[in-house]
Every structure is written in structure tokens, then in C-alpha cells.
Amino acid sequence: MSQATAEATLPFEEALAAYDPVLGLEVHVELGTNTKMFCGCATAFGAEPNSQVCPVCLGLPGALPVVNEKGVESAIRIGLALNCEIASWCRFARKNYFYPDMPKNFQTSQYDEPIAFNGHLDVELADGSTYRVEIERAHMEEDTGKSLHVGGSTGRIHGATHSLVDYNRAGIPLIEIVTKPMTGAGERAPEIAKAYVATLRDLLKALGVSDVKMEQGSMRCDVNLSLMPKDSTTFGIRSETKNVNSLRSVERAVRYEIGRHAAILSSGGKVTQETRHWHEDTGITTAGREKSDAEDYRYFPEPDLVPVAPSAETVEALRATLPEPPAARRKRLQSAWGYSDLEMRDVVNAALVDLIDETVTAGASPAGARKWWSGEIARRANDAGSDVPTYAASLAVTPAHVVELESLVTGGRLNDAMARQVWDGVLAGEGTPTAVADARGLELVQDTGALQAAVDKVIAANPDVAQKVRDGKVQAAGALIGQVMKEMKGQADAAAARQLILDSLTN
């Protein structure tokens, strides 16, 4: 349990009535390179502590860094995807400070010469509007090791009896993406923050440069926030909330900090410039390190590395490898699939775009793909606290299953109700749709004699309804179809039954 106590906050609406939030986001992304940024060590997640280390990433005396070319390429591709300018010449810099999980007691980073700068990312909001996030810079750096504080109650260093350090993470390539201050967001600030991180995550995933798993720390977000009075254009003092590591938390942290700042300011107080810790469980932030302007990292150009100077040709060649931007792709797919805006937004919000794309490519209809991936399985995934793609993968349910299921319907073996039963069986792990249909004995009765007999019986039993149909009220046939299906114990093709009823009554 957190020992932290919540500070006073002003209700969100009240805060926004008096103040404009200014938002800045710093996102750290671990690159998915096979080796570390400055040595040849492996980067696999979850390996035995200190098993992926060497003299270089342990910072042993005499060891020297060598730049991972793949890391630089990824950085340039990220910069290009964020519409940034790419530096034709830039250097690494040393950021000097002491910490036990940082082997050299300086972090090799970039300072005033980032590899990419001055870009933007357009973010779509729930109401269909677009907000342009200006990108200040994206720069390359290395990750630190990981400290595990043992003996305390919170896992933080406070109260711990000792600490263990795992240097497997030390030297893993990171890209830090920093936005320019976002103004004018108003009450949409929490939504914009979340949407930006989500959009960035999708973009990085599409680039294939990172697995962007926020829960594993391969994508980490710091939220900088300040408030200024409604009539002011001067930024207030900001707080930096560190390691806000889920999309939902990004939104909550922004909302919380707006309320906290507003409470301080409206009571005549002064916000402290400091880093703050985000508490997932209680949804609040607490004070961390105070960040005075006196904090001095004594940056200077890293003399052990030569400058990075990508040629224009290299940059253009990398630009050619960029995938279609996710927003453009969504527009293209929506048009190809014929979805309404509402349908498309639901599909995007449920993270179904890739799955539906694969399913349609495998041969299913767009409508069918959407139907099967957003019905029963979505309910189950939600119950499991997961999303559909992850849940489907855990069940080994694939686009091929949907294609097969749909073909059983279009081929006339199953009707819709039967297909739903088959899908339940597939989700229950009973096998492929065909195997489930076989095992459960689900098959439309193809014998028109039996169906005709059932139709005749139902017409005879419902002369009033039959007369209405004869009089031209075709929609009245629905009641008869339902009874025929009941007669057939569901094993009939409703369309065929309808046709037979109409044939019997109109000829």
C-alpha cells in the first residue's frame, strides 16, 4: 500500500474555468534492436539478471562505446515518421550524475544536437477532430540498469535495507521523444495526452522499431504540466510526473495534476518545480526530487564517439522504408471496407484494425470480419481484462477461423444462429469451425421435403397470418418463419423457409 497521502485538488471543471493547462510529454522508447546501443550484448527482456553484460555496458575501466548503426537508423526513421528534420551532423553528449544503476556515472545521450527535431504528429480525438502535437526533438540515448530495493514496504529506496542492481538493461538503446509545450487544449488536455501516446505507440509499432509495451517499460511516459490563468500567456511552474506507464494513467495523471495545480494556485500558493511519482493504485501523484535550476548535468560532447553524420541519400533511403502512417491507413481501410465513421471508430478503439485487415485479406467479408471480432469474443476479452487481439492470440483463434466460419454460412451449411454456436465452440477451444460444427452436429437441413412439410404444417395452423401474406403483407411472413424454424429445431435455413412460405402462399 502506498504511504502517500493525497494533496488537495480542485474539481476538474472548476480548475479549467480559471486556468489553461500547458502540457508537455516526454516519451522514452526502448528500441527493439538485437544488441545494445554501444556494445554487442543481447537485449532480451526478462533474462537472468546480469547475464547480458560486458565490459562496455558495465562501464569497466578502459572499455569504449561503439555506436549501434541499427539504433541510429531506427532513430532516423522515428524522426522521419514524426515529420522531423534530421540532423546532417550531430554528436552524443555525456550527461553526468551519480547513481548506482548507471555504470559509468554518466549517461551517453544527446544534448543540444539531437538526431531529429522540429516535427509534428496529428492526433485524432474521439469527436473526430484532429489535434497537431508539435515535436521538439527525438534524441538517442542509452538506458540505465535497474535497481531493485529490497526490505522496504513499497519497493522504493526509502526504507529498503539493501538494493540489487541488474545491468541487463544498461545500454539498451532509447529514443526520447519530447513535445513542444501544448497549449489551447483546455478540457481536452487529458484526452489529448492519452491520444498522443496511443498514436505514437501505434506509429512506433507500425515502424517496427520497438515492441512498445508500456507494461514492460519498453515505452515510458513522463507528463509535464503547468497551469496559467485564463487571461495569461506566461507559462506557470511545471511538475514532471515520471513513469506514467499506461494510456489510462496518462489521462488520469494529467487530470489529477490539473486539479492539484489549480488547488495550489487558487489558494494563492506557488507550485513547486519537482519530479512527481504516479501511483497507479490510488490515482494520485506524490512529490519526488525537487528540481531546482541548480541541477547541473555538466553535459559535454562524448569524446569517445565520433559524430553521427547521415548522408542525405541515407536519410532518403530510410524515408522510403517508412510504412503508411496509421491515420492514412485507417482512412484507406475504412473506405475499402465500407464502414461508417462510427463503425470505424469502434474498430479503432477496440484495436481491431490489424486483425480485421488480416481477416479480410484472408478472404472474409469486411462486415463478417467486424461482426465476428467484435461480438462474443470482445465481451470475453473485456471480462479477462484484455483486448481482442491479445485474447485471440492467447486462445490461438486466428483470422483463418473467421474465414472458415463465414464460408460455412455462405456455403449454406450453417445459418447465422448456428454459426454463433460454432463460434462459441471455437472460442471454447473445441477446434476449427468445421470441427466444432461436426462435433456438435450442426448442419442446416437441406431436405426440402421436410422443410415443405413443416411450412405446410405452420400455414395450416395459422390461417389468419397466412391470409395476411396472401393479401400482400409480406412482412407478416416473419412470424411464420419463426415457427417453421422452431419446427425444424433451428436446423433450417431461414432464407429457404421464407422462400417456401412465400411460394406456398402467393402462387
Partner: protein, 507 residues
């Protein structure tokens, strides 16, 4: 017999080993016997590895007996400056903070020595982390000058200069950040080269100032120096600043010893005032020898050299303050618990260890560098120093348009006495006035003996500087001068050094 083996040149020993007139084991044993006899007074070594050296010697002898084709210097033993990592052998850098540290890896230079079949006799003394000009800053006590045991053997590489001047080894490695190979060579009557920056890998060389450090060869003759230079040099993918180009033909140049038609530039700012009379006299005579050998003399001016010392003592401490941050008691080396603190924090252990483990000169430079890099001072100090560095490089470029090589005395004086400058850092720093410009510009330099100063009978060094990547010019000029001097003297200079075994008995 033994006496003759230890005074012979490496080139001569290599020829006799190749002809199987002598074995590496007997040669190595002769060196070790000499160490047993004289190192008690000279104190060149911090660590002698008799067992390892003899095992390596026997292995080479066996390979030679098997008629294997072996590198030129195979079987010739060597001493290694204790700032280069040696797998399985202590590496202290002359500091208490690394006492007992056994590196798990070899520096690239050591890897190359081993690949060349050269037995490693041991690790030589130095000023702590190569900061000094006398070895008085070694945490393990100073080395002594074989010419006068009350005088300094130069620094930081006083262990390597004295080990070859006292005939304990025919060859040694050095590192030169501001003259640490050339000044010790000058005051001990030996030869040493600082190659072009990037010519020899720095991987495994415990960094003092990354942009200035360069490893190089130490020997008693110009040809021996060239032979070792060729072994040490060459591109190393583990060092980003290593030059990816063929090693200059230094051995060939040393053998040809041809200066006819070469233009020798005398640097106006590095002669005359401030140079000891006997030093200047021997310098002038050497220049005349080169003229006699067919060279032409021109005078050049390098006005920015006046600011070299000031720039150097900002750049070096700045880089050193960051390079030495890794010595924090967390992963290796000394760990000291602070007095009177129960359950100290990591930071308190770091502070106590650094206080106990670093000597005064190291602390002085860390403080200087930390200050120079501080925000608000960076531009005035580090920034200005980098501009001066550029101007010095420009001076060299202009001077090399007028001359093929530049020459000066290596140091303003002959070896000074212990204690003379230890309490006056500025006086100590001024000893490197003639050697520092080459490090700032990255150009190669050599020192070789030009005789004994008449007033004190101590060796004088003659410095040759060449454009970057033109290291072979040093050897052409050095070998030509050496040949002239040798015929003038009738015997190598070191033959007139005192008999150390007598001194040892007397002490």
C-alpha cells in the same frame, strides 16, 4: 652473457631469436633477473608476472621449434604500463582506488602484444591515472631515474621509461595525454613515440582524457620503437576513434633513415627563453646534424601554442572528471565505509571511497574539470579551450605547409629532483609545455636522446612532430639523427649511465 642480452636492442634480439641463437625463455629470464637485481632501487614495476612471462616465452620457443612462422618480435619480452587492462593481471593505474582489481579482459594493445608472441613481464608504474610528470603522484611510490636515483624518471610513464633505461626490458608500452611517453623518454635517454590520435586503439586503456590519450611505444632505439609501433597500431572496431587506414610504414622509414631534401621546421615559440642552456645547446647541435644529413631548416611560428597549456588544463580535467566518475565503489575496486555512519547510503560509500582512494592531484583535476563543465562556466572555460584547440590545430596546418616535420626540445629541462615541483602544480605542468600541443591537435610526436646536458650530465630529449597520419616521418628523421649522434658518441648514450647494481648495493 646475461648482461649482453639485457642491453641488446629488440631488433637484434628478434633476429637472434629468429635464428634460434637464443631462446625467449633465457631472454625473459635475463630480464627478470635484472629486475630482481635493480628494481628494488628503480621501482619501475607495480607488478611483475615472472610465471606468466616465462610461460609465454616457452610457448613461443616451442612454436619456433616447430618451425612455425612467427611475427618479427615474437619472443621479445615487454613491460606494459599499468593503465592498460590485462586479463588476469592487476591493473591499478597507480591508484589505491583500483587496488586489487583484476580486469576480466585485455586491452586491444595487450591483445596485439600477445598475438605478436611477446611475453609480458609486468605492469609499470605511473602517476595516478597518468596525471603527472614525475611518478611522484603514484599511490605506490615513485619510480627513479636510472641516471640519478634522486631524480624523476618523467611522467606519467616513468615506470616504462625507467624499466627500459635500467635494462629490465627492451621494450615497454606507454600512453601520452600531454607528453607522458615523450617527456619520460627525454629525461631517461630513451626513445618514445606518441602516434597520431586514433593510430593505436584506446580500447582497454583506462581513460584519462579521451580526446587526448594515445598509446605508443617506448624503446632504446628508433628502430625498436618503430617495430613496437607497428605491433601496437592499426584499426580496431572496438574504438570508434580508431583510424581505419593502413599503419604508416614506420619500420621502413626507420631503416632508411633518410632526411635528404626534408624541411625541418624549428618552432620559434618552443626554443630559447625558458629552456635550460644545455637543453638548448644539444637541440641546436641535433638540428645541425640533420642539416649535415641533407635536411633543410626553416623557422616556423605557432603563436597559439602560448595558450596550449591553459587550454589543456581545462580540456583534460573536464574529460577526466567524467571519465573518473565510474570509480564509485559499486562494482569493483576499493570500497570504504564512511566513519561514524551506521548503515551508510550508496552515496556516502561513494564519497568515502573516492576520498580515500584518490590522491591529491586526481582530486585537484576532478574539481577543476567539474567546475569547468558547470553550466554558466562551460562557455568561458571548456568552450574557449576548444576554440584554442582549433587555433593550435590551425597553427600546425600552416607550419606543415612550410615544413615536413617540426622540432623542439622535448622538455624545458633535464630531469628535476624529487620534491622540486610536487608542491607547485603550475611548475609541474610547465614541464609539458612543448609536448602538449601535439595532443591537442592529434598529431604524432617522438622524443629521442640528443645527448647529455653539459651542466648536469643528464639526458636531453629532442622532439619531432609530424602531420597526422605521417608518423613515418618521425622515424625517418629520428633514425637519421640517431645514426649521426651514435657515430659522434661512439656508443649508445645509455652505456654511460651509472651501474645500478652498484647503486643497489650501496643503498
Amino acid at each position: 652473457m646475461t648482461n649482453e642480452l639485457i642491453t641488446a636492442s629488440a631488433a637484434d634480439l628478434a633476429a637472434r631469436l629468429a635464428a634460434r641463437e637464443i631462446s625467449s625463455a633465457e631472454l625473459t629470464q635475463a630480464c627478470l633477473d635484472r629486475t630482481a637485481a635493480v628494481d628494488g632501487v628503480v621501482h619501475s614495476y607495480l607488478h611483475v608476472d615472472a610465471e606468466g612471462a616465462l610461460a609465454a616465452a616457452r610457448a613461443i620457443d616451442e612454436r619456433r621449434a616447430a618451425r612455425e612462422s612467427l611475427p618479427t618480435l615474437a619472443g621479445v619480452p615487454i613491460a606494459v604500463k599499468d593503465v592498460m587492462t590485462t586479463k588476469g593481471l592487476p591493473t591499478t593505474c597507480g591508484s589505491k582506488i583500483l587496488e586489487g582489481w583484476i580486469p576480466p579482459y585485455d586491452s586491444t594493445v595487450v591483445t596485439r602484444l600477445k598475438a605478436a608472441g611477446m611475453p609480458i613481464l609486468g605492469k609499470t608504474n605511473l602517476d595516478e591515472f597518468a596525471m603527472g610528470s614525475s611518478t611522484e603522484h603514484s599511490a605506490y611510490g615513485p619510480s627513479r631515474n636510472p641516471w640519478d636515483l634522486d631524480r624523476i624518471p618523467g611522467g606519467s610513464g616513468g615506470g616504462s621509461s625507467s624499466v627500459i633505461a635500467s635494462f629490465q626490458a627492451p621494450l615497454a608500452t606507454g600512453t601520452d595525454t600531454g607528453g607522458s611517453i615523450r617527456q619520460p623518454a627525454a629525461v631517461t635517454g630513451t626513445v618514445g613515440t606518441k602516434p597520431t590520435y586514433g593510430g593505436v586503439s584506446r580500447y582497454g586503456l583506462v581513460a584519462l582524457a579521451s580526446s587526448l590519450d594515445q598509446a605508443g611505444p617506448c624503446a632504446r632505439t628508433v628502430l625498436d620503437t618503430a617495430l613496437l609501433h607497428e605491433v601496437m597500431a592499426g584499426h580496431d572496431p572496438m574504438d570508434s576513434t580508431s583510424i581505419d587506414a593502413p599503419v604508416p610504414a614506420v619500420v621502413e622509414a626507420a631503416r632508411r633513415a633518410d632526411v635528404s631534401g626534408m624541411k625541418i621546421g624549428i618552432i620559434r615559440e618552443l626554443t630559447g627563453d625558458g629552456f635550460q642552456a644545455g637543453v638548448q645547446q644539444r637541440f641546436d647541435e641535433s638540428v645541425q646534424h640533420l642539416v649535415d644529413a641533407g635536411a633543410e631548416v626553416v623557422e616556423v611560428s605557432c603563436p597559439s601554442f602560448t595558450y596550449a597549456l591553459a587550454a589543456y588544463y581545462l580540456i583534460l580535467p573536464s574529460e577526466a572528471s567524467s571519465n573518473l566518475a565510474k570509480f564509485d565503489a559499486m562494482r569493483y575496486g576499493l570500497r570504504v565505509a564512511p566513519h561514524g555512519i551506521d548503515d551508510p547510503s550508496a552515496e556516502q560509500v561513494m564519497a568515502a571511497t573516492r576520498d580515500a582512494g584518490f590522491g591529491d592531484e586526481v582530486k585537484r583535476r576532478i574539481i577543476l574539470g567539474t567546475y569547468a563543465l558547470s553550466s554558466g562556466y562551460y562557455d568561458a572555460y571548456y568552450g574557449s579551450a576548444q576554440k584554442v584547440r582549433r587555433l593550435i590545430a590551425d597553427d600546425f596546418t600552416r607550419a606543415f605547409e612550410a615544413a615536413d616535420v617540426l622540432v623542439s626540445p622535448t622538455a624545458p629541462t633535464t630531469a628535476f629532483a624529487f620534491g622540486d615541483k610536487i608542491d607547485d602544480p603550475m611548475a609541474m605542468y610547465l614541464n609539458d609545455i612543448a609536448t602538449i600541443p601535439a595532443n591537442l591537435a592529434g598529431v604524432p610526436g617522438m622524443s629521442l636522446p640528443s645527448g647529455l646536458a653539459p651542466e648536469d650530465g643528464l639526458p636531453v630529449g629532442f622532439q619531432i612532430l609530424a602531420p597526422a597520419m605521417q608518423d613515418q616521418r618521425l622515424y625517418a628523421v629520428g633514425a637519421a639523427l640517431e645514426a649521426r649522434l651514435l657515430s659522434a658518441w661512439g656508443a649508445p648514450l645509455l652505456h654511460s649511465a651509472p651501474d645500478l647494481t652498484a647503486a643497489g648495493k650501496g643503498a
